[in-house]
């Protein structure tokens, strides 16, 4: 049985408020500009109030499902360290993981009822060949706007995708208010070079 093998899947994961939906929108728009079929999916509403947020982006010749099944995601972009672990079953050992160094404590850890897992990077590096650890808030601060953390992570992602840089810049320019475009582009390039 021939499944839709030519479809690529990227999974974004993190915590509500980290700019995950905007970031995944940008990737989808870039793929559209590059002439591919593309779909994305995430859940809005109650789930977003500080809870886990994921967004699937898929692209290729003809995309049917906007969500990837477990075990087929090519790249996981994790905006928060711990959230990486929650979605490993979407990956294969050949998948790439881009992970932000940021730690956001879940309520049970804040209350002292649970431990924030240690050795996360070591754990995933033992399974996956390609784990890229990024300090996105560092990029964002240097870019002059702490809210550009998501764009910095997109910059990292862009270095793993064969898409013309000008398309990324074009979509980023269209996706943010005039006065934050410069900072976003700067954060993007810092991520891309990191």
């Amino acid at each position: 049985m021939r499944a839709n093998k030519d479809i690529k899947s990227i999974l974004f994961a993190g915590v509500g408020g980290q700019g995950i939906l905007r970031a995944s929108d940008i990737v989808c728009l870039v793929m559209m500009e590059a002439g591919m079929d593309t779909k994305k999916s995430e859940v809005h509403g109650m789930a977003q109030r500080g809870g886990c947020v994921t967004s699937h982006v898929r692209y290729g010749r003809k995309v049917y499902s906007p969500i990837a099944k477990k075990g087929v995601v090519d790249i996981l972009v994790s905006f928060e360290k711990l959230e990486t672990l929650r979605y490993l079953d979407f990956l294969t050992p050949q998948s790439t993981i881009i992970v932000n160094e940021k730690e956001i404590y879940p309520p049970s850890v804040n209350l002292g009822d649970a431990q924030y897992p240690g050795n996360i990077f070591e754990t995933i590096k033992n399974i996956f060949h390609l784990v890229k650890v990024v300090n996105a808030s560092d990029c964002a601060v240097k870019a002059g706007d702490i809210r550009t953390e998501n764009t910095a992570l997109l910059g990292v992602l862009s270095s793993y995708l064969q898409i013309d840089l000008s398309l990324w810049e074009k979509v980023i320019r269209k996706s943010f208010p005039e006065k934050t475009i410069a900072a976003n582009l700067k954060a993007f390039h810092m991520g891309r070079m990191s």
Binding site: M1, R2, A3, N4, I7, V15, G16, D25, C28, L29, M32, D37, T38, K39, K40, S41, E42, V43, H44, G45, M46, A47, Q48, R49, G50, G51, C52, V63, Y64, S65, P66, I67, A68, K69, K70, G71, L82, E83, L85, R86, L88, D89, F90, L91, T92, Y105, P106, P107, S108, V109, N110, L111, G112, A114, Q115, Y116, P117, T123, I127, I146
Partner: protein, 596 residues
């Protein structure tokens, strides 16, 4: 021109391209963005109505005047609108009327998982169901055409994945249809007294027969013949999931899920060896196919509950689990949704939790207060239920209810369906206390306006309903306004009201921290003075995201000065998240929380 659109945006766009200029609805995930997108198009009338029943009645009125009308709601909203719904199929719609029902398989943001395809059959209304954004834009036009051609309301069903996933849509030029409206009298058709309704009842059945024939030739009920070994009947997003995994099987994709195309189904069934039906939630298609005497495999292998994904379809159809990567024995702390830092609900529910009363809750962000550590809310059934339930519980408990029963409802929810049960409380001499959490907006669905915000959907100033005056007009004599950032007065007022006889209303007023018109106040993030903190965890028990607990050994700061032998750690406030609401400062017994 191509555009990346969500299903909801595509519905609004399609309706506009097709000449629709009138829409009403009530916000509800996953339907909300349809009206928000539609409202900014040129020359349209769009409104947030106070609830779905009103929205539908507004829509019926506009349709009878000849307009093409879009009415939107989430699945449970159709329950509220069910009364007019079941009779508008009798009167017909003159102009055109399409009702969006946005279902929520997996209950991402809902209190139940009802399958509203059943409403199509129950109310005798045809239903279309798109699978992605391009289809959403095309199908909405077809839905309006069907409504006009058959003089019937038409249901348009989405699910969360269709409404909120984005895909590429080809835009077309909007067409202008001029002004189709006029007053048309037709009492035999529009006055549903028994003598007229009996006649219209027959018309409904005739219409359904015609719609069945229409379904057999409907362009969006499509057979895709590939491998004849396996045939799949499916509709909506399930089609995409199935195509993702089994692109080589044969398909009958139903664009219209009610009424079903019997001839087409028989033709398809005769062409394939093994027939499956893939549908989320109820066996809606399955039961109808089985009633035709056709052997089909459905819920024997596919789940009844939760939304599907390609993996669910693969493992159900193959009868084997997909192998997935898992880390053995790794405890991953859960991350449930939480009230935001500085959320005004936090102070209120902290106080309510301490009062040891039964708090009948309602639908909104504040429902999250049921969780640890606040645990200040004890029921949630549907919009408006808090008030009726608090009253009923208080009456049943008689004397034992004294000081122990509270109903809590948000401002938008109170407007939606809290006014009638509050009237009931004064009429039937209730003793319960009702708290209206007035955060000045419909926060949960993303900051929509409502009659008590004083602004319309388009942001125009309008009459602002005053809750104090409204409660008084409903016969509530004791009405108080509190600030939930002020814990002391919040507790005092609630305690006093609980002990009083007769119904009372407490308006807990403080704008949502995410609210756009929130008054700018110069609050600064707070910090914990680690030398004063005794590690009692009282502030931590507010469950505010910036406040965490650091054990001394975690920090490697064993030499840190302990205030008592038993002290195990200190509280810590993340200044990048803290809004400076001061609620934690007020609960701290030793004054360890201070300004930065």
């Amino acid at each position: 021109m191509k555009s990346l659109m969500s299903g909801n945006e595509a519905i609004a766009r399609g309706a506009y391209e097709h000449g629709v200029r009138f829409a009403s609805g009530y916000p509800g995930t996953p339907s909300t963005e349809i009206i928000e997108t539609f409202a900014v198009y040129d020359g349209v009338y769009a409104e947030w109505s106070p609830n779905e029943k009103v929205a539908l009645e507004v829509g019926i009125g506009a349709a009878l005047a000849g307009a093409k009308v879009l009415v939107t709601m989430k699945h449970v909203g159709v329950n509220v609108a069910a009364d007019p719904l079941f009779t508008v199929s009798y009167t017909g719609t003159n102009g055109a009327l399409v009702i969006i029902t946005a279902d929520d398989p997996s209950l991402h943001s809902s209190q139940n998982e009802q399958d509203n395809r059943n409403y199509a059959k129950f109310a005798k209304i045809p239903m279309l169901e798109p699978a992605d954004s391009q289809e959403a834009k095309e199908y909405i036009k077809l839905a309006f055409d069907i409504s006009e051609e058959f003089d019937t309301p038409v249901f348009f069903r989405t699910t969360t994945r269709v409404s909120h996933s984005k895909s590429v849509v080809a835009l077309e030029k909007p067409k202008s249809i001029g002004d189709p409206t006029s007053i048309q009298f037709n009492t035999a058709k529009y006055v549903m007294v028994p003598m007229n309704a009996r006649v219209r009842r027959l018309e409904v059945e005739k219409k359904l027969q015609k719609l069945k024939e229409f379904a057999d030739n409907f362009s969006e009920n499509k057979i895709e013949m590939n491998d004849p070994e396996v045939g799949i009947i499916t509709a909506g997003m399930s089609y995409n999931y199935a195509k993702d995994i089994f692109p080589d099987y044969s398909y009958l994709k139903l664009g219209m899920v009610y009424p079903m195309p019997e001839k087409l189904i028989r033709t398809f069934a005769s062409k394939v060896k093994k027939l499956y039906v893939i549908e989320e939630l109820d066996p809606f298609i399955e039961e109808q196919v089985k009633a035709m005497g056709i052997h089909i495999i459905g819920k024997e292998v596919f789940p009844y509950t939760n939304e599907f994904d390609p993996g669910v379809i693969e493992s159900s159809l193959k009868g084997e689990k997909t192998r997935a990567l898992r880390l053995a024995d790794l405890a991953i702390p859960p991350r449930p949704p939480n009230l935001c830092p500085g959320c005004p609900h936090r102070g209120l529910f902290y106080v309510l939790g301490k009062l040891k009363a039964f708090v009948a809750g309602d639908i909104g962000c504040y429902t999250l207060a049921f969780m640890k550590p606040l645990e200040g809310l004890h029921s949630c059934i549907c919009m408006g239920a808090s008030i009726g339930m608090a009253h009923g519980m208080s009456k049943a408990l008689r004397g034992k209810a004294k000081g122990k029963v509270v109903g809590v409802i948000g401002d938008s929810t109170f407007i939606h369906s809290g006014i009638t049960p509050l009237l009931n409380m004064s009429y039937n001499k209730s003793d319960a206390v009702i708290v209206i959490c007035d955060n000045r907006t419909t926060a949960m669905t993303g900051m929509q306006e409502h009659p008590a915000t004083g602004y319309t959907l388009q942001g125009e100033k309008t009459k602002e309903i005053n809750f104090t005056e409204l409660a008084a007009a409903l016969g509530i004599e004791s009405v108080h306004v509190i600030d939930p950032y002020d814990l002391k007065s919040t507790r005092t007022v609630l305690q006093e009201e609980l002990l009083k006889s007769g119904p009372s209303v407490v308006i807990s007023r403080r704008a949502c921290v995410l609210f756009k018109r929130r008054e700018k106040d110069e609050r600064k993030p707070l910090k914990v003075n680690a030398d004063t903190c005794i590690g009692c965890k009282t502030c931590v028990s507010l469950g505010c995201p910036p406040i965490s607990w650091k054990k001394f050994d975690d920090e490697g700061a064993m030499e840190r000065k302990k205030r008592s032998k038993k002290q195990k750690g200190v509280a810590f406030i993340d200044d990048s998240l803290c809004t400076g609401c001061t609620v934690c400062q007020q609960v701290c017994k030793v004054g360890a929380i201070i300004e930065r």
